[in-house]
């Protein structure tokens, strides 16, 4: 029996979506997989092309060891089996942006085998998703169709760039799970430094395999949605595709196994090629390359050097900083956020730092539509602000005001506090004078407060108002209690 809580209701009953993902992640490396050409994004067209990348006669591929190590690191980060011997195959097809007429990939014997990761879902639950394999392969170039009325141009800068294809098991059952899976993979890759995870630049893209079935039945026929390049589109593509398949099946039709494309403008998937039109790739071992053999010592060394990954970090934040699993999860999900938080928390009250980062800071970023990298407030500045709270220079409430100004101007908190005179009044004499004045002016309220101690709150408010919010709240409370004889 299925325990899926995410069944979709069709006209004739409930359906379950089954999904597996193939993520193509560009390996973070200075050079291509089989040539020394650079890989920088956005360079002038055809400026990063070696003789090998352009497939000139007699050129031979030479494996880039750094790419191999990045694949091993990634495999270890996915908790997967590392294959000490793997084989590069040729995947043969003709296309103008594929200079060799074949892509060098790994078909039968990939460098990384089975693994498993955990994904965090919105309801707070954790789900395990299996990894089928990871293999190394070359990227193709890019065909450019808008430069000439009747011809297409080819840009080979990407030709030969190293990709890792990470194939999941068909373990996902709803769009949210697929999105959480991609986010988690991206997060792991970024922590490892093996891929920048930048979906806009195409460094990370996903093929989504979608099928539907009646709960408990065998797997249905799947369709593959190619090259979806944002997490939002992944959700939309899945929702559309599942609904499409259910409609077809409920109308008595059957699903054709095919490759589809997601059109983000129309919000729908469209058939790209059917199974009959599918290429026969004629895979065979690339005779230019010997099998790739890596030593166990290298794997051990890379394992020992692995950075702390999101799941470990989350557990440590909960354990060491007493953060809630939710807060910890939010903080670690993006490496950049986590780095920011750790810089803010360094040497400070971690709980307070977490509240500020996940509360005011993320709130302000979201409102402004900014990424953490372009934040006007640095981790150091936010840390300084927290220092001002901790040493009683300002209250938490004033700090929020200061933060708003920091976010607008980028100024340091100390400067803002100084210029605006926001230092907390800790001078008991000054607070006492303010209290005395208010008590003297409001004898009726004093009488009421003696009857009803909760009225003290009204006095606190008056004192804060008269001190411009700068009075130390603790001192105000203590003094008021004494003066009112509570």
């Amino acid at each position: 029996m299925s325990e899926n809580k995410n069944l979709i209701e069709g006209a004739t009953g409930f359906w379950e979506i089954v999904m597996g993902l193939e993520i193509h992640a560009q390996v973070a490396s200075n050079a291509k997989l089989f040539s020394g050409a650079p890989t920088e994004f956005g360079a002038e067209q055809n400026s990063q092309v070696s003789l090998v990348d352009a497939a000139l006669p007699g050129m031979l591929p030479v494996i880039n060891e750094e790419c191999v190590q990045q694949a091993v690191r990634t495999g270890l980060g996915l908790g997967a089996e590392i294959h000490l011997r793997s084989v590069f195959d040729r995947k043969n097809y003709f296309y103008p942006d594929l200079p060799q007429g074949y892509q060098i990939s790994q078909f039968k014997d990939p460098i990384v085998g089975e693994g498993e990761i955990e994904i965090d879902l919105k309801d707070g639950s954790v789900k395990r998703v299996g990894i089928e394999r990871l293999h190394l392969e070359q990227d193709a170039g890019k065909s450019v169709h808008d430069q000439h009325p009747s011809m297409s141009f080819v840009d080979l800068n990407r030709s030969g760039v190293a990709l890792m294809e990470i194939v999941s098991k068909p373990d996902m059952r709803c769009a949210e799970e697929a999105q959480a899976y991609v986010k988690k993979i991206r997060s792991i890759l970024r922590y490892l430094g093996t891929c920048d995870g930048n979906m806009e630049e195409g460094s990370l893209r996903a093929d989504v395999n979608v099928s539907v079935r009646r709960p408990g039945e065998d797997l249905g026929t799947r369709c593959e949605i190619k090259n979806v390049n944002s997490i939002r589109f992944i959700g939309q593509a899945i929702e559309y595709e599942a609904r499409r398949q259910i409609d077809v099946l409920e109308d008595g039709g059957s699903i054709d196994q095919e490759t589809r494309l997601f059109d983000p403008r129309a919000g729908e998937t469209r058939s790209m090629r059917s199974k009959e039109e599918a290429h026969d790739y004629r895979y065979f071992p690339d005779p230019d390359l010997l099998p790739l053999v890596i030593k166990q010592e290298l794997v051990d060394k890379l394992r020992a050097e692995l950075p702390e990954l999101p799941d470990e970090k989350k557990a440590r934040f909960v354990r060491e900083y007493s953060l809630s699993p939710y807060d910890a999860g939010v903080l670690v999900s993006e490496k950049a956020s986590c780095d920011f938080f750790e810089a803010v928390a360094d040497g400070r009250d971690a709980k307070l730092a977490a509240n500020w980062v996940t509360g005011e800071f993320f709130g302000a970023l979201n409102k402004a539509g900014l990424q953490i990298e372009s934040s006007p407030v640095s981790a150091k500045q936010l840390g300084d602000l927290i220092n001002l709270i901790s040493d009683d220079t300002i209250s938490g409430r004033i700090a929020k005001e200061v933060f708003e100004i920091m976010f607008e101007t980028g100024d340091d908190p100390a400067k803002i506090v100084e210029e605006k005179g926001l230092q907390q009044v800790t001078d008991l004499g000054a607070i006492e004078a303010a209290i005395d004045e208010i008590i003297a002016a409001n004898p009726d309220k004093v009488a009421q407060a003696k009857e009803k101690p909760k009225m003290a709150g009204w006095f606190v408010g008056q004192v804060m108002k008269s001190t411009g919010g700068k009075a130390n709240p603790k001192s105000v409370n203590e003094l008021l209690a004494k003066k009112l004889g509570l």
Partner: protein
């Protein structure tokens, strides 16, 4: 033929070193001979300017006492090796006037050692053929003629231009490549020495690929010593070819001690193929006697999977070729025939660019790699390949070298087998197993057929044991005393 073109490579080297001759003189003599050899169609691109410039530079280095091991030696280059600034076509229309901006590792090694490039030599298109009849430049003609016919004969293939140039004294030596016999069979057909080293001994970088797991460069020369000298310069590890092997290249010339006493020579019974002519049989027996007289021990051995070698080869080689030749698509360089759309452009370009034999092999290769056929053909052929390699490994437990004929017949007439691919493929029956096992092999002229054509014997060595192979070949060469030369009919008006 001037006195200078009569020299062997070793002799020329000695005269250059002794400053009895200059490289410019030597080079000019060969250029004159090459220019007078149009009827042979050996050179497809002659590079006199490059040659004379290199020769002058060589002479300057000799003068300064900075001579390299091949200083001033004029050589021909098979048109499969990419040469910087010199048109390289693999004798295929699809490469059109492709001019590389880079130099193959093998030729770069030769130039670094002081050798001089005379030009580019004819070959079968993409090295696919055993007669040099599939070249876009037309067939190369064997300098030898049968005593009973005036018919033009094939020089063997695919390195027909190399074998012809060396046999006709149009170069002191030539580079060649061997995928299934393309060095050794043409050597046998032209009375020259053809040496295919162990797979991985020479870099494949910058050499137009036919079948990557089988292709190997080597020299064609007039003597075993010349082969030893040339191979030493051609060979070596290359970081740009990960299948080239990082082991030291020995001084092959020093291995020519003339002493093969105690060496065990295997005679594989499976090479006594059905229909083999008496004269080949006789030559083989003669070879056995020569080696025996020189003190070698003869051992009968069995290579039981030999009969599967040719079929396995004609699956593996076309499979790799079909993929290797996919890059010739009209998009980036070479020939392009415009079409209505990209597929039409591909089809027109490749139809016009490739000749019949290349198309045949691309089709065979595509077929054997296709879904549903891959296991039955490609995988099975690879298994046979493993068995063949094991056959040799077993044999080499008992022996040091194998002796076989190089080819089942002497040179045949132009056009004789061109419409009969199967009979053409049978030319490689004794050479193909060596490539499948990646072993070194050498063919040297051992006698003449009844109608006066050269016949070769093949020695096959252990992996990376070219030293022993050359040592025995040197002894066999001495014993055979082959000194016949073709008549110089091609220079007559």
């Amino acid at each position: 033929m001037t006195e200078l073109t009569k020299l062997t490579l070793a002799e020329a080297r000695a005269k250059l070193a002794a400053k009895e001759i200059t490289s410019v003189e030597l080079t000019e003599a060969h250029l004159v001979a090459a220019k007078a050899s149009d009827k042979l169609n050996a050179y497809v691109t002659l590079t006199p300017d490059v040659a004379l410039k290199m020769a002058a530079a060589s002479d300057a280095r000799i003068e300064k006492g900075e001579a390299g091991p091949l200083e001033g030696i004029p050589l021909g280059v098979k048109d499969l090796f990419c040469t910087d600034g010199v048109r390289t076509t693999a004798c295929s229309n699809i490469l059109d006037d492709f001019t590389p901006t880079y130099e193959s590792t093998v030729t770069a090694n030769l130039w670094a050692d002081g050798a001089v490039m005379l030009g580019k030599l004819n070959n079968d298109e993409f090295a696919m053929g055993s007669s040099n009849e599939t070249s876009r430049f037309g067939p190369c003609i064997n300098p030898w003629k049968a005593s009973d016919s005036d018919a033009d004969l094939v020089p063997g293939g695919s390195s027909g231009g190399s074998s012809t140039a060396v046999a006709s004294h149009l170069a002191l030596g030539a580079t060649a490549t061997d995928t299934g016999g393309s060095i050794r069979q043409p050597a046998s057909f032209t009375g020259t020495v053809g040496m295919k080293p162990t797979y991985g001994r020479c870099s494949r970088w910058g050499t137009v690929a036919f079948a990557s797991s089988l292709d190997q460069a080597g020299p064609i020369t007039r003597t075993v010593r010349d082969a030893a000298i040339m191979l030493k310069s051609m060979a070596g590890h290359d970081e740009k070819d990960t299948t080239s092997v990082d082991i030291e290249v020995p001084d092959y010339e020093a291995a020519l001690t003339g002493d093969i006493r105690g060496l065990k020579i295997g005679i594989p019974k499976e090479y006594r193929v059905e229909g083999m002519s008496d004269e080949i049989e006789k030559l083989w027996t003669q070879g056995i006697d020569w080696l025996k007289s020189a003190g070698a021990e003869i051992v009968d051995v069995s290579l039981p999977h030999t009969k599967y070698a040719l079929p396995a080869y004609y699956i593996v080689a076309p499979a790799e070729a079909s993929s290797n030749l996919a890059r010739y698509d009209g998009v980036r360089y070479g020939l392009r025939v415009q079409g209505d759309d990209i597929t039409d452009m591909y089809e027109k370009t490749r139809a016009e660019g490739f000749g019949d034999e290349v198309r045949r092999r691309v089709l065979i290769g595509t077929y054997v790699l296709s879904a549903g056929y891959y296991d039955a053909y490609y995988i099975k052929a690879q298994k046979i390949r493993t068995l063949i390699a094991q056959d040799f490994k077993q044999a080499y437990k008992k022996i040091d070298l194998l002796l076989t004929p190089t080819a089942p017949s002497p040179a045949f007439a132009i056009g004789e087998k061109v419409d009969d691919p199967l009979s053409m493929y049978l030319n490689d029956v004794f050479t193909v197993p060596v490539n499948l096992a990646g072993l070194p092999g050498i063919s040297l002229p051992a006698g003449l057929s009844s109608n006066g054509l050269p016949l070769g014997l093949q020695l096959i060595g252990r992996t990376f044991d070219e030293d022993t192979l050359l040592r025995a070949a040197d002894v066999l060469e001495e014993a055979a005393g082959f000194s016949a030369e073709p008549s110089k009919w091609w220079t007559e008006a």
